[in-house]
Structure formats: structure tokens, C-alpha cells
């Protein structure tokens, strides 16, 4: 896997942008979607190697998408990390039942997110420090 595709599915553009900036040191191609429908479309079209999935999005919500993915041969093993404000046991149990790789509650601890991505995609590479561009978002970028 040279450059894995990571889909960031969240209805808030600012959250997608911040996650993308935080992960910009990773050699990966980032895709974005902002509704349940566009997330399903992007998964079908792009076959991402990892999905960072919000739960509360314009329908269908993230847990329904996860359940649908697990019901298909193509996406039954695609790693999915849930990133949501929802932390109820009901949602966590549902995510676990459908084999989510991790469940992170917003506001996300970015080091935890990076560790979780590296666990889901153990072959992912980092961009050498000298080639990194200056991030637009100045805050919340963890020190490597």
C-alpha cells in the first residue's frame, strides 16, 4: 500500500479540514464527504482503505453506514474509526458489533487519532519533515 486512501466523513467542514491538517504528515490521499448519502457514494466509488466516520450526519447516520458496509463482501473488512460527539453505551455497543476499529469522542485527542490510524493501517508512511508544507490551521497540530 503506497498511499492509502482515507475518507473523512463529517458534516462539519471545519472538522474535516482540521483532521486533514493534523494528518497532513501522513503519506495518504484524503477524501471527504459531508452527508450519509455522499459517504456511501464515495465509499462505493473510491473503495477507501480507511474511513473516519461521524455518527450524527444528515441521513443515513454513521452507524447505519457502518452496518451497510459490513453487509457487503467488498467493505466488510475496511477499517472504520468512529469520531463522534455521541458516547452512549448504545452507540459504542453498535459500533463494536459491526467491528469498528476504534471509537473516539469529540473533541478528539489527535494523538489518539494518529495512534488509531497507525494501528488500522500499519504500513502507512510519514512524509519526511523537510517536505512538509506549512499547515493552514495553526493550532491543535500534535508535535511529532
Amino acid at each position: 500500500m503506497n498511499r492509502p486512501k482515507i475518507l473523512i466523513a463529517d458534516d462539519a467542514e471545519v472538522t474535516r479540514t482540521i483532521i486533514r491538517e493534523v494528518l497532513s504528515f501522513l503519506k495518504a490521499d484524503f477524501l471527504e464527504s459531508d452527508t450519509g448519502v455522499s459517504t456511501i457514494r464515495t465509499i462505493n466509488k473510491e473503495n477507501p482503505d480507511l474511513v473516519l466516520l461521524d455518527i450524527s450526519m444528515p441521513a443515513p447516520d454513521g452507524l447505519i453506514i457502518l452496518k451497510r458496509m459490513r453487509g457487503t463482501e467488498e467493505f466488510k473488512n475496511t477499517p472504520v474509526i468512529i469520531i463522534s460527539v455521541e458516547s452512549s453505551q448504545e452507540c459504542r455497543d453498535e459500533a463494536k458489533k459491526y467491528n469498528a476499529s476504534d471509537y473516539l469522542t469529540k473533541p478528539v485527542n489527535f494523538q489518539h487519532l494518529i495512534d488509531s490510524i497507525k494501528k488500522a493501517l500499519p504500513d502507512i508512511k510519514e512524509i519526511p519533515e523537510g517536505e512538509l508544507r506549512q499547515p493552514r490551521v495553526r493550532r491543535n497540530i500534535p508535535k511529532k
Binding site: V14, T17, P107, N109, R136, R139
Partner: protein, 177 residues
């Protein structure tokens, strides 16, 4: 089965102050200062605790609901200029550049509301009242006031950020009431 008592105001206050602290410090490296909580009686029929604290228009109001074993709606009031500052900190864009970028401001304030009230709501869930948040709505306007919901408890939590008020107006009741 023993009925669980709905949380007292002191518990709600702790949950909300912790939620604000957690979200603003993690996402913005800011710390709004908690000042006071006003009850419905103390508001004395005033539909806007925000204006009562001397704030000026235009303002931004984020609203978000939660439903389940606890039902409620929360309105977060800030002045437009403060919303621009928050958006600037979160996106790295210049405040001047943001003045006409209402979509970006709405997106940022909506997500801050979502995280803050989501954190608060998760605390209520942990006390045994399972509920889920709705999608946030953000409005910009002048003279925005919200009428009390008669059957709900109302508390206005007053904070200060950049020396301006930030008010979180909570209407809450136990589910099934």
C-alpha cells in the same frame, strides 16, 4: 426498579462547565470564565439573558436539542465579533478575511455547539438518562429572544470570553413529561 432522580442544578452546572472547558481548551486553546447561573425566576420573564448582561447586536445563536430519557434544547449566544474571533482561532484565517464568510462562521459555531452540548449530554447519559443530540442550527440576527417552554426547567449559564458574555441557555426536562 428504583427510579433515578433527575440531576440537580449543581450537577447540571458541573457537567456544562466541564463540557465548555473541555471543548474550548482542546479545540481553541481558550478558557471561557464561568460567572454565574441564572434560574428562570432570576431571569424574571426576561427572554434573553444575553441582552440582560449588556450584550449588543448582531449576535450568533447556535441551537441544538437532545431527546430520549432527558429532553432539552440549548441555545448558545455570542456576539458576532466574538464568533469571528472563535472562527479565526479555529481555522487560522484572519478575522478581517472572515467578516463576510458567514458559511464558515456558521460551520465553526455549529461544530463548537455540537461538541459542547454533546459532551454535556453524554454526562447526562452517564447519570442514567440515555439521549441523543440533534443536528445543530446556527442563526445570525438582531434582537433574538427565546420564549420559555413552560414545562421545562430553564437555566442560563453565563461565561465570559474575550471580555464579552457567552451565554448557554438550557431548557431541560425528564423524558416522557
Amino acid at each position: 426498579m428504583e427510579e433515578i432522580t433527575f440531576p440537580e442544578i449543581e450537577t447540571l452546572e458541573d457537567l456544562l462547565v466541564n463540557a465548555v472547558d473541555n471543548v474550548f481548551s482542546t479545540m481553541l486553546e481558550l478558557k471561557p470564565v464561568y460567572k454565574q447561573t441564572l434560574s428562570a425566576e432570576e431571569l424574571n420573564g426576561n427572554n434573553s439573558p444575553f441582552y440582560a448582561l449588556g450584550s449588543k447586536d448582531p449576535l450568533i445563536v447556535g441551537s441544538i436539542g437532545f431527546t430520549g430519557e432527558a429532553n432539552g434544547v440549548v441555545f448558545i449566544y455570542i456576539e458576532y465579533e466574538v464568533a469571528i474571533e472563535i472562527t479565526s482561532v479555529m481555522t487560522g484565517m484572519d478575522a478581517d478575511e472572515l467578516k463576510e464568510e458567514m458559511d464558515i462562521i456558521k460551520d465553526v459555531i455549529g461544530e463548537i455547539c455540537n461538541m459542547t452540548i454533546g459532551n454535556f449530554k453524554n454526562g447526562i447519559c452517564d447519570l442514567g438518562f440515555n439521549c441523543r443530540v440533534t443536528l445543530p442550527t446556527v442563526l445570525r440576527g438582531n434582537q433574538i429572544e427565546v420564549n420559555s417552554i413552560q414545562s421545562a426547567e430553564r437555566h442560563a449559564f453565563c461565561f465570559e470570553l474575550f471580555n464579552h458574555p457567552l451565554v448557554i441557555d438550557l431548557f431541560v426536562q425528564k423524558g416522557g413529561q
